[in-house]
């Protein structure tokens, strides 16, 4: 039987991410301060509070409904560029959850690919621009590569998260072409991007939640 992620695992994933974001608030603020306005962590924290309340107070018919509600909560509490971008992430991902209470690797791969496309459309950014795209793009590439499918869900998500973390680290050497960092020109080099860091966290939480179910 192929491993699938239930709606509860999706909830676990989101709760885990919320907890990590709250714990990393000042770290993310610091990263944002180096090239931006220093509040990426605080922005996401507000989103985390709203998402937690949502997961506690509401029941959802299917994964689409669940992720759509998460998307709207994020868009309307995080604010800024990252609110719109993370909102789009969950909005696009929600599409593959229509009428479903589980997600398999193929569904996740499709959903994350569509999330990436949505983010690139809205933000106008490409890999190498030193944004959160540099974390999600390699993760999606890993998932989409034919060799990954055979590795199983947990291993695939592990590889994806690792790719995201490598992508995050690679932003240090980049010159920002999008977001506030882009105003700095060459001076943006030498700092890891805040959004890429939180995006890598999101994908690592996905892997960790999947692993938890299986162990």
């Amino acid at each position: 039987m192929t491993l699938v992620l239930s709606q509860d695992v999706v909830t676990t994933w989101l709760e885990r991410f919320c907890a990590d974001v709250v714990a990393a608030e000042s770290h993310l603020n610091q990263l944002d301060a180096a090239v931006g306005d220093g509040e990426h962590g605080s922005n996401l924290r507000q989103g985390a509070v709203a998402v937690r309340a949502l997961l506690r107070d509401r029941k959802f018919g299917d994964i689409q409904e669940q992720l759509m509600a998460v998307a709207m909560a994020i868009v309307n509490t995080v604010g800024g560029a990252s609110g719109a971008l993370y909102g789009t992430f969950f909005l696009r991902l929600s599409d593959v959850g229509a009428g479903r209470n589980t997600l398999d690797l193929a569904g996740l791969t499709e959903g994350l690919g569509s999330a990436l496309a949505g983010i690139r459309e809205l933000g106008g950014s490409a890999p190498g621009d030193k944004t959160l795209v540099d974390a999600i793009h390699p993760a999606v590439a890993v998932l989409e590569s034919p060799s990954t499918g055979s590795a199983g869900l947990v291993a695939a998500l592990d590889r994806a998260a690792t790719a995201a973390e490598q992508g995050r680290d690679a932003t240090a050497a980049m010159v920002a072409r999008m977001g506030r960092g882009s105003y700095l020109g060459d001076r943006s080099r030498g700092h890891i991007d805040a959004g890429a860091t939180s995006m890598a966290m999101l994908l690592r939480c996905l892997h960790a939640s999947a692993e938890e179910v299986t162990s």
Binding site: G38, E39, A81, G87, M178, R180
Partner: protein
Amino acid sequence: MQKIMGDATTVVPDYLRGLAAAHPGVVEYDPVDRIVVRRAPAAPGKVGLVSGGGSGCEPLHAGYVGLGMLDAACPGEVFSSPVPNQIMAATRRADHGAGVLYVVKNFGGEVMNFGLAAEILRREGVRIEKVLVDDDASFPPELAARRRGLGAAVLVEKIAGAAAEEGRPLDDVAALARRVVGRSRTFGVALSSCTHPKTGRRTFDLPHGEYEVGVGIGGDRGHERRPLPPVDEIADVMLKRIIDELELRPGNQVVVLLSGLGATPAIELYGLFAAVRDRLVKQGVEPVRSLVGDYITSLDSQGALLTVLHADEELLELWDRPVHTASLRWGA
């Protein structure tokens, strides 16, 4: 952190409550949707004007709500754009049946959030036009996509607001607003960064005797850090790219907006204005209207934004129309 405030998470609503209390005849504050709406009755069929952006840049935008300017403003958290819910609520209050113009500054967050809101509302049949304000002259034309929306936002809101007040249709008002943006350029410098009320930290450190050249709002650094020169040279630096880009020629008339970034003493700002004006006049360019003061800021940053609008008769005529907002008022 040296701040007059209570809970750091409520600085924005606390500010808005105070603003509405200080200007009860001018604006109303809706704390549920976190929007500020004008009190002066709008003629039916008047185009609505909505703007918003990160707080911390006061009086942008709530200080410009009122007769002759904005119908509603949606202030985001400090240095974060407003969220779609706010923007949609503001749009509904601003729609007098003739559609709504969004004044959107070219910051990723603003563009995306106003974009999402417009997307949703258009499906409901609301007529929305957007003007993208990207007057930042610190980026060369090749990097025009990065140009931030700065002081031209004030000019657009004033001039388009006057046009809306006289009943012009949405397309006209939008075209006029785009014309103002196209004829405006801003250049900013900072002598200090600012302290974010939530993080309690300066957004960057600047050694004494240096300044940042080519800054925006929101505590962003500029393109370059240089030794701080005397005022005359600062005026040269700020004007250079503006004059080049606007291709100003002897005989041209301009509106000058020189805004402090929040902690610049008036004595310095007017001193800088004198230097700027001398230079314009020397080149035969005539500053026919000017505003000097804190019109678009960055919390407690020291520094200034210089905005120049290449004026014409129509723009000046609209500029002179009555306006009555918390932070801009004449003829009323």
